[in-house]
């Protein structure tokens, strides 16, 4: 170990890091460093940090140990591994090689380009000084002290940044329209009501680097001429709320928000508004209604919020990721940002990669990358060497893209062309064990439950769609059902009031388009090819594999399994409720479903 070593330990405390025991690992490090006088030996050179999401959540808890700039990353860290890491690595300087990350980890990062996430997982999200140390708030200073609002808008327009919430409206243009609207009062709102099932980008950004979002808001407010801002955030994200509240307090203390910011005479403050659990509130007019304390129901547009929004005043609503891009664009310039991406979609996009892929986690890629590169190079391919079937993007508003289109590049237009959307960034990978009809049913039941009920096509239409799909998955589908779904879907898409209704049929229409044969198998043969739809399944015991361990018999909730210990068991079909638990617990693969 060198003289005057600078040792830093960073423990992932993102959502998955915490859930897999990140706090226990931190405690273990603290205890271990205090014990045996190790702390005295290392002195003050060793510091502990909790950081936001590293990205590769599948391998949590991830721990980075930095000694004199040399970085070692440990995966699957457990508290009981800490003493050895401290002794071998921190004290003696020999990393515990067998616990460090392997090729998977490096492949995961190789094709990524980090802009929004560049400081996420590196800095302590609860410490404003850590953010300032990596050039944080420099963009704010630059904009407020040396640029006019118009110049600021021009940079954002030139960068080509488009809304990252899903619709992809050019951010600079949105700001410009709002600024041009005559008014004494304007507002900026950060939309952190990330409701898409299967998406956790915004959560990770706020938890990993809340100051970048605040900075984006300050710059946006200055550009449009707003003195008040709101962050509308889901109450289901308590940690994000906590870190954001802390970050706002610190920013206030340091004079980045409040009155007379940096002595420029510009006033701006931010309030947090907690969502109360309604997916439709991600729609901008519904979000405004909810901030005003009303039922979050959308209204017809125009007028758009940039003209008449919160309390009837011009209001800009930007998504978390959009805002988090702003400070980086200001610091590095429009040309730098637009050097990433494609002709019409500039920059990078954060995706939450999950489902049946090996490396699940949070990724940031330049737009224009192919789905194949994301799933195979970054994601490491399909888990358990199964066959890749489809990838779902855009959550309940998006669609399923089949394996044959895997070379598609990812940008706003190219995904829309194949019947999906880029959406806010959820990307759920499906393998041969996923039933596409069941998938359509899943998203429909979500949209149907979350429909606010204001307009008829969405309220009644999604209900009818769901009824038909439910009928198909329970083996009661009939000829003509597919055509009815298509027709009804088109009607709902054309006539709904807001984005929720207009996009709700997408999961059904896209699965019919690419997986019509699966629908037909359900309707004509009364079979679910992927063996998912409960009513169409039969469970039975494969006699040659069953060794009579009785694990299935003990767990069966319906007492439908008979057989003596060490003898072949049987499933009584009349009693079986097809819950699938026996299939899950059998270690000998002796339960078959078909």
């Amino acid at each position: 170990m060198g003289v005057n070593p600078d040792i830093r330990i960073k423990v992932c405390m993102g959502p998955a890091g915490i859930a897999t025991g990140g706090a226990d690992v931190i405690d273990a490090f603290k205890n271990e460093l205090h014990r045996k006088g190790i702390k005295a030996f290392i002195g003050k050179q060793c510091s502990m940090h909790k950081v936001g999401c590293f990205g590769l959540c599948a391998k949590d808890v991830l721990v980075t140990v930095l000694i004199n700039g040399h970085k070692t990353i440990y995966e699957y860290t457990k508290p009981e591994m800490v003493p050895r890491i401290v002794k071998d690595h921190i004290v003696e300087g020999n990393p515990v090689v067998e616990w460090t990350v392997g090729d998977d980890f490096h492949n995961f990062y190789r094709k990524q380009t980090k802009v929004v996430l560049s400081d996420c997982g590196e800095i302590d999200p609860e410490d404003i000084d850590a953010y300032i140390a990596v050039a944080g708030y420099e963009a704010t200073r630059k904009v407020l002290t040396s640029m006019t609002p118009e110049e600021t808008i021009t940079i954002i327009k030139d960068s080509g940044l488009r809304g990252r919430g899903g619709a992809g409206f050019p951010t600079g243009l949105k700001w410009e329209i709002c600024r041009r609207k005559q008014s004494q009062q304007r507002y900026i709102i950060c939309n952190a009501d990330e409701g898409d099932p299967g998406a956790f980008m915004d959560r990770a950004v706020i938890e990993g680097n809340p100051h970048s979002v605040i900075e984006g808001m300050i710059i946006g407010a200055y550009a449009i001429g707003a003195d008040k801002g709101y962050v509308y955030i889901r109450a289901e994200y308590p940690l994000a709320v906590e870190r954001l509240t802390k970050a706002l307090d610190q920013a206030r203390q340091y004079g980045f928000i409040g009155n007379n910011i940096l002595g420029t005479g510009f006033h701006f403050d931010v309030k947090i508004k907690l969502g109360a659990g309604a997916f439709v509130c991600g729609e901008e007019t519904a979000l405004i209604a909810s901030i005003e304390g009303k039922r979050g129901m959308p209204r017809a547009r125009p007028p758009f919020p940039v003209e008449s929004g919160l309390k009837g005043k011009p209001t800009v609503i930007n998504n978390v990721e959009t805002l988090a891009n702003i400070p980086y664009i200001i610091r590095n310039g429009a040309d730098w940002f637009s050097s990433f991406g494609t002709e019409r979609s500039k920059g990078t996009k954060v995706f939450a990669l999950s489902g049946k892929v090996k490396n699940t986690g949070l990724i940031e890629v330049p737009l224009g990358i192919s789905l194949k590169e994301i799933i195979y190079d970054i994601g490491g391919g399909i888990e358990g060497e199964k066959r890749f079937k489809a990838v779902q993007t855009g959550g309940p508003s998006g669609g399923c893209i089949p394996a044959k289109l895997i070379d598609r590049e990812v940008d706003y237009e190219s995904l829309a062309e194949v019947g999906s959307i880029m959406g806010s960034g959820g990307m759920v990978v499906m393998d041969e064990d996923t039933c596409m009809v069941d998938m359509a049913k899943f998203f429909l039941s979500f949209s149907q439950a979350e429909s606010c009920g204001k307009c008829t096509p969405c309220r009644i239409g999604t209900k009818r769609l769901l009824e038909i799909v439910e009928r198909i998955t329970s083996g009661k589908g009939k000829e003509g059902d597919i055509e009815t779904l298509e027709e009804l879907g088109q009607d709902i898409r054309a006539t709904s009031l807001c984005g929720l209704g207009m996009t709700a049929p997408n999961p059904v229409l896209s699965t019919i388009k690419y997986f019509r044969d699966e629908y037909e198998a359900h309707i004509r043969n009364k079979k679910c090819p992927a063996a998912v739809c409960k009513e169409l399944l039969t469970y039975s015991v494969l006699e040659e594999f069953c060794n009579g361990c009785s694990a299935c018999k003990r767990i069966c909730p319906a007492d439908a399994i008979t057989g003596k210990r060490k003898q072949v068991h049987k499933i009584v079909p009349d009693l079986c409720i097809k819950c699938g638990t026996c299939f899950e617990v059998c270690k000998f693969k002796a339960i078959m479903k078909w």
């Binding site: 959502p15 998955a16 915490i18 859930a19 897999t20 959540c57 599948a58 949590d60 990330e194 409701g195 898409d196 099932p197 299967g198 998406a199 956790f200 959560r203 990770a204 109450a235 289901e236 994200y237 907690l274 109360a276 659990g277 309604a278 997916f279 909810s290 901030i291 005003e292 304390g293 009303k294 039922r295 979050g296 129901m297 939450a352 999950s354 489902g355 049946k356 699940t360 986690g361 779902q392 959550g395 959820g426 759920v428 499906m430 996923t434 998938m439 899943f442 998203f443 979500f446 979350e450 606010c452 767990i555 909730p557 819950c579 699938g580 638990t581 899950e584 617990v585």
Partner: protein, 160 residues
Amino acid sequence: MEKALEKILATYRKEEGTIISILQDVEKTFGYIPESAVNWFSKKLNIPASCFYGVITFYAQFHLKQRGKNIITTCRGTACHVRGSERLFNRLLTDLAIPPHEDTTDDKEFTVESVACIGTCSMAPVVIINKKVLGKMRADKLIKEVKRLASKRKCNGRKS
């Protein structure tokens, strides 16, 4: 109860709150929204009770009935769904004998609910038991956890 409501009213006035912020505070204080609380605020603020109920029934966060001591939430996000969260949910309903169309056991010990997505998709399927997030859940593991909670309830019962 009156005291708690007065406090919520004071915050509402100070922070320029809304119906939603009042209801969030009530839910936080009592664990659900008692009818009497709605009537109290309705009178104090001269806002019809129907406006409160409109908001309560619109948002998933508000509950009009008392909830169980133990709250088990299964995530029903896409990633969890693909990995079998529906089976877990149904198993809980059967094992805890939750009455049909209800979410809470008759003895008010357990509430079983689902949430759209909690954003820990990499650990799917996820179940939250009393605010503790448990990832990569399986039916047998889940039943063990529930049994542990249920036995705790019996022990406590004997003591008191």
